[in-house]
């Protein structure tokens, strides 16, 4: 649906008056809505960073803001051309498309009229204001561990957001999932019990709380069953979604964070890059809108927690074809060395080094193929604003060439991972609806 510009402006104005938080940067950012609908990313970051005026409830609101950032709520609750937190983003699931609701303070279409109890029930049990079951695209299975005090703070913050009157489109789901009560069955089957807290340091516990709770890292990083529940025993070992692979976060030295120090992890989450990798794809957005804006202490806690995860098992090595490696090396030196350099060492924090690169050596080549074919953009962050971008090779490399160079980078310089076939490249090219490499090739 299209909103009238005048209406949007009025809503924004009303919102600002309502919360009496008039901040210059915010006004400027939002004023742009007048001439072109759509709020671009920086205004979103600016919104998340805007000062919260002193007042009786300021501490709670500030804490709520930090928690909202940690939960990356804005990631799902803002559509591409929409206002922050107004919802309407279509989330693709195997069962259909689910549209995120409006989290702004609007009483009619947002959460303006919600009580703290209603909000806490939604967070913990996935039950909406009217008692309906929410779909687990809303990760209440993770949020149920969030404390009641934190739930209250989040709601307090959300209620300060300028109300936007916007009703997201109706979900488009297949039967019987389209019947909300069906979720009760899902809940009964899969809703995990609250995490057990072993006798660890407060920092570790804080990290576990963020990773397993608001951070809902497992939504992407833990493999899923056909019913989209977490696979037992494969906690944070890497999962596929939307033609990306969220990599292994365990202590595996080849595919996981085994070679990363806690400092590496913090730097990655703060700046979207470190000496080993750049954050691209969905993780780039997570960093830009969430982790880059979190406190040092919380990032350190996450790192401390992740560094204690036991390593996932080593994959069985499959020797790559010598011809593929030879062709892949030729393609590499001509097409990749411009940035990753002839010896693969790259230019750390700008062009990631490839020897020892965990992302390359995942069991699945999904992310590698995605990045080669579509290109990938490093998330811009306040500390490092450069959105270094790998160009798309879809127009340039054939499926066979993409496969060969993928096999090469997965197995050169001591790397080891399963070879990649042309069919895999073809499937990714089709899935991403990218062009074929049809230009003539020199003899």
């Amino acid at each position: 649906m299209t909103l009238s510009r005048r209406w949007l402006w009025a809503a924004l104005l009303a919102g600002t008056l309502l919360v009496a938080v008039v901040v210059v940067t915010w006004l400027d950012a939002m004023a742009a809505v007048r001439d072109t609908p759509g709020d671009p990313p920086p205004a979103l970051v600016a919104l998340l960073l805007r000062p919260i005026a002193d007042g009786p409830n300021a501490e709670v609101i500030r804490r709520g803001r930090a928690l909202t950032v940690a939960g990356d709520c804005v990631g799902c609750h803002t559509r591409a051309d929409g206002l922050p937190f107004a919802g309407g983003l279509g989330i693709k699931t195997p069962f259909g498309v689910i549209f995120s609701p409006n989290l702004t303070g609007d009483r009619a279409t947002g959460i303006g009229a919600w009580t703290a109890d209603e909000f806490a029930r939604a967070m913990a049990h996935g039950i909406g204001r009217g008692g309906e079951h929410l779909y687990p695209a809303f990760p209440y299975t993770y949020f149920r561990t969030v404390t009641r005090g934190d739930d209250d703070a989040i709601l307090a913050y959300l209620k300060t957001l300028p109300p936007v009157r916007y009703t997201p489109p109706a979900n488009r789901l297949v039967f019987p999932v389209s019947l909300r009560p069906a979720i009760a069955l899902w809940n009964a089957a899969f809703l995990p019990s609250a995490a057990v807290r072993p006798n660890r340091s407060p920092e570790w516990n804080r990290g576990a709380y963020l990773v397993d709770g608001l951070g809902h890292c497992g939504v992407c990083h833990t493999p899923k069953t056909v019913a989209l529940s977490d696979k037992a025993g494969e906690y944070l070992r890497g999962g596929k979604l939307d033609h990306w692979l969220a990599p292994d976060l365990t202590g595996n030295p080849r595919t996981g964070l085994g070679r990363w120090s806690a400092t590496d992890i913090v730097e990655y989450l703060r700046t979207a890059r470190n000496a080993r990798a750049n954050a691209a794809g969905p993780m780039a957005e997570v960093v830009t809108y969430s982790t880059a804006l979190m406190s040092d202490a919380d990032l350190a806690s996450i790192a401390a927690y992740l560094k204690t995860l036991p390593a996932s098992p080593e994959a069985v090595a499959v020797a790559p074809d010598a011809g593929a490696m030879r062709r892949g090396a030729a393609i590499y030196v001509d097409a990749c060395a411009s940035c990753h350099l002839a010896d693969g060492r790259g230019q750390p924090r700008l062009f990631p080094p490839l020897p020892g690169n965990a992302g390359l050596q995942q069991a699945s080549s999904t992310t590698l193929l995605h990045v080669i074919l579509a290109g990938a953009r490093t998330g811009p962050t306040p500390a490092r604003p450069t959105a270094t971008t790998m160009p798309s090779f879809a127009w340039k490399l054939t499926d066979g060439e993409v496969a060969d160079v993928s096999t090469y980078v997965r197995n050169a310089w001591g790397n080891r991972a399963a070879p990649v076939g042309g069919d895999d490249a073809r499937a990714m090219r089709r899935a991403l609806r990218l062009t074929d490499a049809i230009l003539p090739r020199p003899r």
Binding site: A32, D334, S338, L341, K396, A437, P442
Partner: protein, 257 residues
């Protein structure tokens, strides 16, 4: 919108203007100043980017397009082979598919005058003022080749340029180069310069444009092509650089033998 060359016309949409080209030339649609076009954008945050976005070369996709008639093509082939004749050093212009290259270029944006201002009024101008014709490069070629054919026919008993002995062909080309032939609305010197430039372009450009077959011209001079990282060669003064030439779409080493 037939007033594109009328300086007194009223305001018309820029997009329409781009679609028309300055003299109503076709083929310039949806491109703004030679770049990815599109509507005016309101940009904040980062410069726009999307999966798979690449302003990749597309002229080569027009392979098979042709502008030249058979007779024109015969002239271009014969003349180009006098500018770059065959010998063991490397391929001749036609052995490097230069006529194909020129034909495609004339059929494409270059031929249409995509980057030429062609509106009037027109005057002959001084040499220092450069190209002053109202013709697109493709039309300029057509007019020039016809005029050269007339000239050659008069001087050589009705023969076509392609049928002349090489020494006679060279004499014609030298006369054009010196501006000693009257080609009517075409300036002989200017046409020769454009043709020589286009021949060298076809000989040395990336093979995806249809010339430089097998990258043989690059091999002849020792240019490694679209090689991006020479870091290790910077301090190796005077050494041969034995890198196989590579085009934007690769080289034989990328593929199964």
């Amino acid at each position: 919108m037939t007033h594109a060359d009328d300086p007194a016309r009223g305001m018309i949409g820029r997009r329409q203007l781009f679609a028309l080209g300055a003299a109503g030339a076709l083929g310039a649609a949806a491109r703004h100043d030679g770049m990815v076009g599109g509507t005016s954008e309101r940009i904040a945050g980062t410069l726009p980017w999307a999966d798979g976005q690449a302003d990749a070369p597309d002229d080569a996709i027009r392979a098979g397009t042709a502008f030249l008639t058979t007779a024109e093509r015969a002239f271009v082939t014969a003349a180009a082979d006098r500018l770059i004749p065959p010998d063991p050093t490397g391929p001749s212009a036609s052995q490097a598919d230069v006529p194909d290259f020129i034909d495609r270029q004339l059929a494409g944006g270059f031929g249409h005058g995509e980057h030429y201002y062609l509106a009037g009024p027109w005057a002959k101008g001084l040499p220092s003022q450069g190209y002053q014709s109202r013709l697109t490069p493709a039309a300029y070629y057509r007019a020039a080749i016809a005029a050269v054919a007339d000239h050659v026919g008069r001087e050589h008993g009705g023969k076509a340029f392609a049928d002349l002995a090489p020494t006679d062909q060279d004499a014609v080309l030298k006369a054009l180069e010196a501006g000693k032939v009257d080609l009517g609305q075409v300036d002989a010197k200017q046409f020769f310069a454009m043709f020589l430039q286009n021949v060298k372009e076809g000989y040395f450009s990336d093979p995806l444009y249809g010339g430089n077959r097998d990258m043989a011209a690059w091999k002849m001079i020792g240019f490694p092509g679209a090689h991006y990282d020479y870091s290790e060669w910077v301090t190796r003064h005077g050494e041969p650089v034995p890198l196989a030439p590579v085009g934007l779409t690769g080289r034989p080493g990328w593929r199964k033998a």
